[in-house]
Amino acid sequence: MFKKILIANRGEIAVRILRACRELGIRSVAVFSDVDRKSLHVRLADEAYPIGPAPSRESYLSIDKLMDVARRAGCDALHPGYGFLAENAALPRACTDTGLTFIGPPAEAMESLGSKTAGRQLAHRADVPVVPGTNDPIENPREAQTLAHRMGYPVLLKAVAGGGGKGMRLVSNDAEFESGFRDASSEALNAFGDDRLYLEKYLYRPHHIEIQILADAHGRVVSLGERECSVQRRHQKVIEEAPSSVITPDLRKKMGDAAVRLARAGGYVNAGTVEFLVDANLNFYFLEVNTRLQVEHPVTEQVTGLDLVKLQIAIAAGHRLPFAWESITPRGHAMEVRLYAEDPDNNFFPSPGTIISRQVPGGPGIRLDDGVYEGWTVPNDYDPLLSKLIAWGNSREETIARLRRALEEYTVVGIKTNAGLFRRILDEPDFLRGEIHTKWLDELLCRPRTSVSADGDQSGSSAADAAAIAAAMWQANQWDRHSCLSASSTDQPSRWKQEGRRAQLDRLP
């Protein structure tokens, strides 16, 4: 087993990985840019080294700096997390040159499966159905536009190196093609250092279903079942769950087999995800392979009981997947929401800043994979993902009830988050029935919000009273000055109140 692992990432996923290291007795080495000195992953790691200024290309995307840290700290393996360099084949190659084990697939498998266009070609050969589209990167935007026109709008422009919804644009007509191409390639360049795009036919209201696979270096490849990821905003997943309401045991087996076939065809090793679209007739189409750990891996962990990061590390260390893991029976239902620093009331614009106050949920069935903490300043330079909140329950209903309960307990003051969006989604009848598709959320967000049930209205009315009174107290600027003494409270005025008061005085309109 490894002695010391370099975690070439930041935020919640770096924390996730270092926790696995700690549980395995492996030392964890974090890296940080200038604005990340106080980040949670730096605080919790065993070791931490600076790797340069805030822009990713000068820090988290710098393979040279990462290799330098690995050498200095004496690491014997590297975990890339997701995003940044996780799907860049230059990273496993550099690791090999430096004598580090890369915790992920071989560079060749990454290229043959990870590139969206090469993956499609491989899927064809492995007899896995694919979505219609270009099998090669777009050389010429004009030609691509002609092709899109011929294929019929809407089409998707997608980054060859992409993932996480970045470098992707839906184009509904000729007029939108140019700006869509411009934005997608620019985003792709920034996010992946590669601005190439390809084109895909956009299916009508499909489910986005993905299969989690594990492959060891000894030829065993297993499927851990599906994740339902259809709730997306602008192609970015926001809620994921397992199992999917629409997948039958038979379809699960077929899709799992297809995923395993494809992984074998590509010589895949380690954890990976094969993404599919599933249409209304339960036909499935290969979309792409994510040759890394997914953001939403905890959903699979909660239903299988497996620790995917530890398994990644074990596979990279040459361990065999034991037979028993193939017979893992999923239990119950899990659902994840991605809490972002963004403002749902203002076009989901990012909302960096200082977290003044924060109350987090807990209790039965709740897992919080956190990348932030109270008092920390969320920098403007990276992905707005703050934390992932995952609920588990015996049924989908219990899981949703727990998630809703946890979201009610979750409060962040100082920055905006999308928690309210999830409260809204979890009340939508379509969602509760599992009738979701990849455009469902975008459509929902275009509809005007309607009032909820009579019962809801009544609780809303009391809440409105409370809000109005709180607003008046705020205006009176007195819920601090007078220490908010209640009739029943016997507290003495404390430093806490004085600090709170000052914080508020600073922030008064």
């Binding site: 990012p350 109350q359 607003a471 205006q475 209640s486 600090e499 709170g500």
Partner: protein, 171 residues
């Protein structure tokens, strides 16, 4: 003290409330639209208040927004509140119809200007993209709130901007 508060929320729409607050030795005396309410308010953390309202427990967070309004959240509901000033109020009523008059386009969040899509003198339509700001790795197109003419573009490509900074002006 008397306060008039205008509340807006998606679930209950707009609502005007008249609140009277008075402190006595035992705590607050509150009337809401003339109804006396039993209110027990304590602060839990900066900007977080626990309110018992006739026995109902509300945990309320208050976040002042740049426009002077307050964003008020309970676990289940979100409101926007503002103290009523008749003049200020009138101008804001039609926030969903097209903006009128000379418009300053401001950055909604800190970020970096990555593309300018228009230049001074261009004709633009309502909803047309004016420029693109990158923040938190996402490219966000800033759109024109009205049809008209670009009077001036103050932002430069590559320039870092703060929230509220004027980017361009459309007349």
């Amino acid at each position: 003290m008397r306060y008039e508060v205008q509340l807006t929320s998606f679930s209950s729409g707009e609502k005007k409330c008249l609140i009277e607050l008075e402190r006595d030795t035992a705590g607050w005396r509150v009337t809401l639209d003339g109804r006396p309410m039993a209110v027990d308010a304590v602060q839990i953390a900066p900007n977080i208040l626990s309110l018992l309202l006739d026995g109902q427990s509300f945990e309320i967070s208050v976040t002042p927004a740049a426009d002077g309004k307050l964003k008020i959240q309970t676990g289940t509901h979100e409101f926007t509140a503002e103290g009523i000033d008749p003049r200020a109020w009138r101008g804001r009523r039609h926030s969903h119809v097209e903006a009128e008059g000379r418009q300053q386009i401001v950055a909604p969040m800190p970020g970096k200007v990555v593309h300018l899509l228009v230049k001074a003198g261009d004709q633009v339509e309502a909803g047309q993209g004016l420029l693109v700001i990158e923040a938190m790795k996402m490219q966000n197109e800033i759109r024109s709130p009205k049809g008209g003419t670009v009077e001036r573009v103050l932002a430069k490509p590559g320039q870092p901007v703060n929230a509220g900074e004027v980017l361009c002006i459309v007349t």
